[in-house]
């Protein structure tokens, strides 16, 4: 290593990974239901996709965590997004390919992706 840029490259690559070890209560929380029902419906690839996407984009203050059964097993995999102000959005029957859109539209820009939410699913 002979330049600061090389050092910075390593730092940027590692930062997203080490940042996961910080605690912040003002964070946006992405909660993935990972009980037996969720796992059976395919929640694990969804969880991994969220986790990777957050780290790849180096999103600050976004925590991807698991939870148990949310109680709506028929709608699994369920993902709940809690913004810092406490507002909750519930996405249902989430697939890994929907993750990009939820991150870009909702978590970064703040526009809820209504077509995937539980309200839409119930209407349909």
């Amino acid at each position: 290593m002979k330049s600061l840029d090389e050092l910075k490259a390593i730092r940027d690559r590692m930062k997203g990974q080490v940042d996961i070890r910080e605690e912040g209560s003002d964070a946006t929380r992405v909660v993935v239901g990972m009980a037996t029902c969720g796992i059976a419906a395919g929640a694990r690839p969804v969880l991994t996709a969220f986790s990777n996407a957050v780290q790849e984009r180096d999103l600050q203050n976004v925590a991807v965590v698991q939870t148990g059964c949310i109680g709506l097993c028929m709608y699994e995999p369920i993902v709940e997004v809690y913004k810092a102000d406490g507002e909750k959005t519930t996405y249902v029957k989430v697939k890994p390919e929907m993750v990009e859109e939820i991150i870009d539209q909702h978590i970064i820009k703040g526009n809820v992706v209504t077509k995937y939410t539980i309200e839409t699913a119930k209407l349909g």
């Binding site: 390593i10 690559r13 996961i20 990972m34």
Partner: protein, 604 residues
């Protein structure tokens, strides 16, 4: 990429309570559940709560599992890591509240702490240089080599107000300035790190080396640039195998990355570091003795001046700083002197790490801003004294320090305040004592240590500490006189004034400070021939209260000296005859007290 990181403490404390086995089992369970691509296991340095080890923390949730057992691992993996159900039963109970789990930083142990020197301990994997770089590691070295002159670096450290964390509290920037300027045409200079942590009860340097070894390497390179040295030595005691192993790994990784070696960051600056292992002599923590030992000679101090900044290692200008001092340097460079000098008290800036030990609930490592009171450290962070006992005194500064009695519980801790009340900061060992500790016995314990560790070069220390110890021994045996106390005091001042190095000059401190604050205990030993705390065996008498004795005979069975026999007396309401202790035969081991169900045996 990993969605979850499981951090397991690999410091000495948790390693001795079995964390290596925990890591192995954890990894196996994770593999078994097919989670190895999703969950990363990281072995870190010390979290500080050594009393609750082995410690494990799971991110992103930040769930803090304490006293983890091997058999709990499958449950943690299948419930928490796979299904996301935190196993609250196994959490550190202070983090569990009625409405869920509170953050670790909100618990009383961590709330008042401010971690600068320890900021990476328990957060990164010390054996992975990339993780250190990921937390801004080596950015400070990059900054000084590309943007700052050596004079600017020294000025920054001077402005920060950082003082040596090894005990004396000498301003670090001043030391560097002297070493840079005092011999203008020196052909060779050295940067040394004092990792010969020898105070009984102090283990912060070990924890920094184990948890964040790169911070010391980076800071030494910065120091080398500032004073104009290209070689560094870390003098670390051989009793710290984990620290040595991680330092070796760190040095090799830094060399591989070109962060040590020739032409660092293309700046033309060369710097390399080697380890020197110490055999564990306490005197080698003294700077001149340490350097003599690095040179390969018997570790003995020499008179100063000349100070090491002028004539140090191999006769060349040398700076020697303590591990914790170095751990502050990169942060000061990155955040600025102003940031650092805003913390702490007027003359003591920044934070200080304390190793809490003795009669305290949360044994472990804490870092607090200078000026925090002893009460906050002991009662809030330390969780108070076990079994509802009363705080009697805290010992700081190890064998060179003194006792702080309860009346000074609210004194803000900094270098000058501690000296004003007859103790010293030392390296930061803080041993808490309760009403069951005899202060004469404590003084004797520390003197026994200094007698053992005196190198023998100068007479005041070699002979003086021995005589002092003998007088203390006499007093604990009930053979002391009031004249002995006066003589002891006189001898203390003589040793302080005439010893060659810091070891002798401070060795009488434990005696002087206990005499100052607990003279009545000395008087009790000498005049009443009693030990008020019930520690000094020769002054104790074990007796059985006959009316309480149920005659079960458990005490007699336990007695190794056959000193307990049955009498003819049957207490009212009891069925069997009571026992009694023959004081002539009793060896005062206390085995009978432990076994006595009705609590009929007393020591007085």
């Amino acid at each position: 990429m990993y969605r979850s990181h499981v951090l397991v403490c690999g410091g000495t404390g948790c390693t001795s309570s079995g964390s290596a086995k925990i890591i192995e089992t954890l990894q196996a369970e994770i593999d078994k559940n097919g989670l190895h691509d999703e969950v990363q296991v990281v072995k870190t340095g010390c979290f500080g709560l050594c009393a609750l080890g082995p410690i494990m923390i799971v991110y992103p949730e930040g769930s803090f599992y304490s006293m983890v057992k091997e058999e709990d691992i499958p449950e943690i993996v299948s419930e928490h890591l796979l299904k996301g159900r935190i196993v609250s039963r196994l959490l550190y109970q202070e983090t569990v509240t009625d409405d869920g789990i509170k953050a670790l930083n909100d618990t009383s142990f961590y709330k008042k702490q401010l971690r600068i020197a320890l900021r990476n301990c328990g957060v990164i994997n010390p054996e992975n240089i990339d993780e250190y770089i990921g937390t801004d590691g080596y950015a400070a070295l990059g900054k000084v080599l590309t943007e700052m002159t050596p004079e600017q670096v020294i000025q920054e450290i001077l402005d920060s107000g950082l003082r040596g964390r090894g005990g004396g509290g000498f301003p670090t920037g001043m030391k560097w300035k002297l070493a840079r300027n005092i011999v203008p045409d020196a052909d060779q200079k050295y940067v040394c790190c004092n990792a010969d942590e020898g105070d009984p009860g102090a283990f912060m340097d070990r924890s920094v080396l184990e948890g964040d070894p790169h911070v010391v390497l980076e800071a030494m390179a910065i120091a080398g640039y500032a004073i104009g040295a290209n070689q560094g030595y870390i003098y670390v005691r051989a009793e710290y195998p984990i620290a040595i192993q991680r330092l070796e790994i760190a040095i090799n990784q830094a060399r591989e990355y070109g962060l040590l070696g020739k032409n660092i960051f293309n700046s033309g600056f060369d710097f390399d570091i080697d380890l020197r292992l110490g055999a564990g002599a306490f005197v080698c923590g003294e700077e001149t003795a340490l350097m003599t030992s690095i040179e390969g000679n018997r570790g003995e101090p020499r008179p100063r001046p000349p100070f090491p900044a002028e004539k140090g290692l191999y006769g060349k200008p040398t700076i020697l700083n303590n591990v914790e001092t170095y751990a502050n340097i990169p942060r000061i460079i990155l955040n600025g002197a102003k940031w650092f000098s805003e913390m702490g008290t007027e003359k003591s800036k920044g934070t200080k790490v304390f190793a809490l030990g003795g009669k305290i609930n949360n044994t472990g490592l804490v870092e607090v801003p200078m000026g925090t009171t002893l009460r906050e450290v002991v009662e809030e962070i330390g969780g108070g004294i076990p079994n509802g006992k009363k705080f009697k005194a805290a010992q700081t500064g190890g064998p060179s320090g003194g006792c702080i009695p309860a009346e000074h519980f609210d004194v803000p801790i900094d270098y000058d305040n501690l000296i004003a009340i007859g103790s010293m900061m030392g390296s930061g060992g803080l041993i808490v004592m309760d009403e069951d500790n005899c202060m004469v016995d404590i003084a004797k314990f520390f003197l026994e240590f200094t007698v053992d560790e005196s190198c023998g070069k100068c007479t005041p220390c070699r002979v003086g500490t021995k005589r002092l110890y003998e007088m203390l021994d006499k007093i604990t045996k009930g053979q002391g006189t009031l004249e002995d106390i006066d003589k002891m005091e006189e001898l203390c001042y003589y040793i302080k004034a005439n010893s060659l190095c810091g070891l002798g000059q401070t060795a009488p401190n434990p005696v002087l400070s206990t005499l100052k604050f607990f003279r009545d205990e000395y008087i009790a030993h000498v005049v009443d021939k009693k030990c008020p705390a019930g520690v000094c065996k020769d002054l104790l008498q074990f007796t059985i209260e006959k009316d309480k004795c149920i005659g079960c005979g458990m005490c007699a069975k336990q007695c190794p000296a056959n000193a307990i026999t049955r009498t003819d007396y049957i207490a009212p309401g009891k069925k069997l005859a009571a026992f009694e202790i023959d004081p002539a035969k009793c060896v005062k081991c206390g085995a009978c007290i432990e076994k006595c169900k009705p609590g009929a045996i007393y020591k007085k």
